[in-house]
Amino acid sequence: MTERVINWFKYASPQTFYPLAGRLIPWFWALAALFGAAGLTIGFLLAPTDAQQGEGYRIIFLHVPASWLSMFIYLVMAFWAGIGLAFNIRLSGMMASALAPTGALFAFLSLWTGALWGKPMWGTWWVWDARLTSELILLFLYIGFIALQAAIDDPRRADKAGAILALVGVVNIPIIYFSVKWWNTLHQGASVSLTKAPSMAAMMLWGMLLCALGCWMYSIAIALMRVRTIMLERERHTDWVRSLLDDKG
């Protein structure tokens, strides 16, 4: 039993995680393509027209997955940053840095698709209601995290400073999620939640969930690719990177 536990911890070192990540990446790309294709097929071809919004609602198949992922990736990023801060594990800090750009991308997509959706349906690109404003703050947190890490040359100090920012920013996630419940907002409430049955037609729901899964798998694949380059960059003076490059060169 103890051997198994040690086996898992083995992958906390960049040297052993690098080849593992390399083997996993193609699988996550394949899953992302599979779920994405299935989700978009259902979303654009099979899901029925909405009674209120007509065909325009179909942007939901990108908007909701992007919003979910922007919040979820932040939590994962803060988790790795916190682990790195508490246990001084190099790989955790690298994981946090690798996730930030993808999280920022999804936060931006969420705001962008939301604006494109808001104009025809609500009558405005943007309003300063609690949901939209807190999601914008999330985008700024991601950008702040990336900028802060880029501004500090020593990677270990950069990790520490970034980790504190990431952990402080976690406060914003429940605010985004519950903003539509706590305050009067223009944004409507959640259609899908853990506490009640989803208020969507089944086919629409399946399309949205599959698209979200596709985005999730994409995020894992791209984060693993990014963490591999960060590993090479930060550990370039170590023996394992040298021997790896010698093998290839």
Partner: protein
Amino acid sequence: MKPRHKRIALIVGGLVVLGIAAMLVLNAFQSNLVFFFSPTQVAAGQAPVGKSFRIGGMVKEGSLARQADGVTMHFVVTDTDKEMTVAYQGILPDLFREGKGVVAQGKLGDGGLFTASEVLAKHDENYMPPEAAKAVGDAHQRAAANKAAAEAASKTIKQ
């Protein structure tokens, strides 16, 4: 205490303090974070006086009317308890419907007429095909008809 445990304690303690601070701040800002006021809140005098603010609620069925000047629209916003009449000149959003949600920004006039400078449609979180929406609507109508019939029947029995 190992340094690692100290760090963990610091992080957890910091997060708890931060969470409490955030809760207190949000509590203090409660009223400012409200995007719109309901007609009941306006009637209770909670809305700012003499300043522009937003009201939100349902557009009352059958209340949308074009005024004699040809460009001003009047409609009634209700939260099923209190009502307010809104005047608006401009293009209403596509999703603006009687019986659906609306948010209007503007000022409250002396006669209780709310003059809006911007009208936004607020849709709900339900997504369904038109056939399903029609079925739900029909079911509501049947339920209402049944209720009315039952009330009428109980009245006749009492008489």
